[in-house]
Homo-oligomer: 226 residues x 3
């Protein structure tokens, strides 16, 4: 099974470890044995001008996932929304009302589906590829999350080299290592069976460290400074 997925993550943190804005949306192609991505692309946001209360993330993820899917023709696209794996093209208003999710979740999807449902329907008609709202059940969604973290670190290193310092909150229970020529991100949850990702980088000359976010248990902080 060849799966395309996308997820958003990595946040610039203030000095109290609260998120200011999200950094990266990553789309990945995940193939057997499903432990990492065979291809990844990224779209950066401006974390200093980001509406954390908004719902732009899932739409951005769908669009970036579609972009990668047009290129690699996967069997299926997985979105990070835990609706039990339902096809997004089928998410009309009565179907959303019938979902076993919170009223708030329904309100969000009534809004989201205005854009995403026709998009998914058209893409399916053209290609036969389904877009599923599968969320946390999907290993591909988790791998996309790891890549969002890895790309956030890459962005952070470049930011620190210009501005002198950066403090980033990584996605849930993941850590990163920086070697001579790549950034490796690894899940800290062994129950996931060894999920990881890596992207190439130029040799860097910033100091960096990883440590637990004191006010968000199971989330790590990445700091870099020159």
């Amino acid at each position: 099974m060849r799966i395309v997925s996308a997820d958003t993550g990595g946040a610039v943190l203030d000095e109290n470890y609260n998120p200011i804005g999200l950094i990266a949306t990553a789309a990945v192609l995940v193939e057997k044995p499903y432990r990492t991505a065979t291809l990844s692309i990224v779209k950066y946001s401006n974390p200093f001008d980001y509406d954390l209360s908004g719902r732009t993330a899932l739409k951005d993820e769908a669009l970036l996932g579609l972009k990668l899917a047009r290129k690699v023709k996967p069997d299926v696209i997985h979105l990070d929304s835990s609706l039990g794996g339902i096809e997004v093209r089928k998410l009309d208003d009565p179907t959303i009302d019938a979902l076993r999710i919170s009223d708030r979740g329904k309100a969000i999807w009534h809004e989201l589906s205005k854009d995403l449902q026709p998009l998914a329907k058209r893409f399916w008609e053209e290609t036969g590829i389904e877009i599923l709202a599968i969320g946390k059940e999907s290993v591909a969604v988790r791998i996309a999350e790891l890549y969002a973290g890895i790309y956030s670190v890459k962005w952070g290193i470049e930011y620190a080299m210009k501005e002198g310092f950066v403090r980033i909150g990584l996605p849930r229970y993941m850590t990163v290592e920086i070697t001579e020529n790549k950034i490796v991100g690894k899940s800290l949850d062994p129950r996931e069976g060894g999920l990881y990702g890596e992207i190439p980088i130029e040799k860097i000359d910033t100091d960096w460290e990883i440590y637990p976010n004191p006010v968000a248990r199971m989330f790590m902080v990445f700091e870099a400074k020159i």
Copy 2:
């Protein structure tokens, strides 16, 4: 404390990684220090003719647990149903109605208790051994789950040697290793404190691999082919 427990697990998967039917019910004797079983027995189902919507698993588990318990005389029997450790012999209809569980859970137990309650009562009267509905709180239940996975892999190897190929979904966050003369199954959750199991096998000549189930995060897939 000497505990007998039983659990069902391991599923033949189709090419989309969806379960077709369950493979093995294992009963185990667990003794201090409670990290593995000192004795185990198995009852195989036919995964290609299995009613996944049915409730036969818990009844099978109770019967297999009783079979082992008659032999080894444990202090207690643990069943995989999370009712807070209540004695199954006390599960009459008013008691079930008073449980803090979902209406669906109550309906299932009203049905199940018709068989299990008299069985548990008689066994307790004869032996003084209680059958508890303790579920996920019990380390013995988890070890039984690991053994169900290990026996499923044993079944899978034999199936693959006859049929050429098998794809099995293991119980939650566990993995297996096959050595010259045994199958070892290990919990992937270090919080459980190192739970594992092993059973002897003949030397095998199939290729096998383990990888994450892409549509069921935290579950591993075992594949074997000749």
Copy 3:
């Protein structure tokens, strides 16, 4: 950020692994990189005369946290109550009623706040230091929990040297190691990013072992005997 936190844990267990009473309340100072404590103090309870149904733990924790905070002047105090990080000095009755917690949780806090709210208010007026009800989100609370477990083991060793035997239930998914001159406690959850604690001890001559609590999955038992 310099954080003081406090937590209670470690329980004497009976022969069926049920808790008799809690052993230790630990207060810790946690500083960057937030993986362990730079300072810790302990207050022992009498586990053989302990009201497990009572709510004395949180009050004890607040008082011990304040004691340490007066000495080390942290930026903030974290209590083990998951109210989303609200300031305890603001917990008057209307605010408690407006919290999104269970009715039982509200009843407990209506009672608790009679003592804790004026205490927190006065401390904040004197020092500017907030006491937050942050609970499981806080790494500092988790480190305090690890120290409560470590101090419980220290108490247990001394108890076993006098009485011959002790059986202690440690806080959730943590383990301990005893070396020549210290007790080291470690989180068993790698998602937390390597949290641990240690306290010095005299050389001991008791036998000890750690194993999973068979009736409380993810909790370890510490036993010592001479």
